[in-house]
């Protein structure tokens, strides 16, 4: 299993564009918006929050976790299925599920690398250090589990890379909206904003923001993440096509 993980890590590093994009885009967002002075001031349109302390870093992390879990992971798995690598593995003593597990480990680790990068950059720009770092860690693990379970589900049901990409996009872009990336949640109608709290990406970003600001967690959002993780991975395990 270790050799499989090392091999997947090497292969990911040899195809660095997707990974670099997933790491650099969030940093770019923090940098572009964080440099403007208003990012460090309380914003009345965000109910008096300081964007650099809450919205910006949580949004950047939601982006990197989302891209790695929902695009990179299914992309690799669809390629492996199409090339017959999963079928090839099923004739060896190693079940192809191990390859999926190795991919999840590798992409999750890359996503975790984005945490110190994003927070480091934001803090360098004047972000207040997160109020509840431990809670932030819990949210990252829970949210990561939820998003990677969704990515696994896409890998399980997509017949090929193209359809997989459509499934990923159909999940990801509306999720971005509900996570408040196009329109700050504070400016959405209450019902819409509340609905977004129960989407995996929205719940992840919002809970992360709460941990950064130290405002306390909404247990329903954490439950959303846990339920997504369990439900999506259970369905994926049942329907995964290993050939």
């Amino acid at each position: 299993m270790n050799k499989l993980i090392r091999t997947e890590a090497k292969l990911t590093l040899r195809e660095p564009i997707g990974m670099a994009f997933s790491l650099l885009l969030p940093l770019g967002i923090v940098l572009a918006f964080g440099l403007s002075g208003s990012a460090s001031e309380a914003d009345p349109e965000l109910d008096g929050q300081v964007p650099l302390d809450t919205v910006l870093p949580s949004l950047a992390l939601a982006l990197s976790f989302g891209m790695l879990a929902v695009f990179m992971l299914p992309g690799f798995m669809a390629d492996y299925r199409m090339r017959g690598i999963l079928r090839r593995l099923s004739t060896t003593p190693v079940h192809p599920a191990r390859l999926l597990a190795a991919q999840v480990v590798v992409q999750f680790v890359i996503a975790l690398i984005s945490v110190p990068l994003v927070l480091g950059l934001a803090i360098a720009l004047g972000m207040n250090t997160p109020e509840q770092p431990l809670m932030a860690l819990v949210v990252i693990v829970l949210g990561g589990a939820a998003l990677f379970a969704v990515g696994t589900l896409v890998s399980a049901v997509a017949p090929d890379a193209k359809v997989g990409y459509v499934y990923s996009a159909a999940f990801f872009f509306p999720s971005l909206f509900f996570a408040g990336i196009w329109l700050p949640k504070e400016q959405m109608p209450d019902w819409l904003s509340r609905f977004g709290d129960f989407t995996p990406l929205g719940a992840f970003r919002e809970s992360l923001e709460n941990a950064f600001a130290g405002t306390g967690q909404d247990p329903l959002m954490l439950l959303t993440l846990a339920v997504t993780a369990v439900l999506a991975s259970t369905i994926a395990a049942r329907v995964f096509r290993w050939e």
Binding site: K10, D79, R83, R88, T91, T92, P93, V94
Partner: protein, 242 residues
């Protein structure tokens, strides 16, 4: 040939009796029986859709038969998959490695899947790929890729190797290289099941060959008994017409 029970041979490593497999309404394998002796190179030929690949998939445990008995080295491939997978090496038709993996990395990775693997570097030497050891799979020629895929089938020190379309797409030189590799492995005691479309390959390599047609064994004998040397293709076409 496919009727009646097969006399049990003491040295047989594969025994298939009345194998039947259907996909929905389509009968892929109707009734196939044969045995393969230890250290034999056993050929399977037949037109596309005759049931060759399904037969091979059932004996490697990739598919479960609907009826019939299969015994591979004393194991039932349908229920004792792990035992089969450590003892039977499989080479599949399609290329099945990531382009960015090197030859050595691929064999080294697959070696880690087996309890008692061959040394990857020795196998690379045997496959005549030493000069391509660190080349990426995607950069290899068709013949080199094929040799890597034969290597993956052999890395776990299998007792039996199942090779599907071993030399399809290879130039004459590469084919002869792969053939002499198979002959050397037979000398080392390997049993080979070879699925192929090439009659010259059967005449050169196979001790016995089964002609599978419409899901049944139409003929099973040594290549020289089935036809005069060089005339196997005529005999094959005759056997598999109508």
């Amino acid at each position: 040939m496919s009727q009646g029970s097969i006399p049990r041979r003491l040295d047989s490593v594969i025994e298939i009796e009345h194998l039947h497999k259907r996909y929905g309404d389509v009968v892929a394998v109707d009734d196939v029986s044969f045995t393969v002796a230890a250290n034999e190179i056993f050929g399977i030929i037949g037109v596309n859709g005759a049931g060759k690949t399904t037969t091979v998939e059932c004996l490697t445990g990739v598919r479960t038969p609907d009826r019939g008995r299969i015994d591979v080295l004393g194991f039932d491939p349908a229920t004792q998959r792990d035992a089969i997978r450590t003892r039977v090496g499989v080479q599949l038709q399609a290329s099945a490695l990531p382009d960015r993996l090197s030859v050595h990395e691929a064999l080294d990775l697959y070696a880690s899947f087996y309890p008692d693997p061959r040394d990857p570097d020795e196998l690379i030497e045997l496959l005549n790929l030493s000069h391509r050891r660190d080349a990426r799979y995607g950069k290899l020629s068709g013949g080199e890729k094929q040799r890597v895929s034969v290597g993956l089938a052999l890395i776990g020190k299998p007792r039996i190797a199942v090779l599907d379309e071993l030399t399809t797409g290879l130039d004459p030189h590469a084919r002869r290289d792969v053939w002499s590799l198979i002959e050397r492995l037979k000398d080392d005691g390997l049993t080979v099941v070879l699925v192929t479309h090439f009659m010259d390959e059967v005449e050169r390599l196979c001790d016995r060959v089964a002609v599978i047609h419409a899901g049944r064994v139409k003929a099973l004998d040594t290549p020289t008994t089935l036809a005069r040397p060089g005339h196997l293709e005529d005999a094959f076409v005759e056997l598999t017409t109508a």
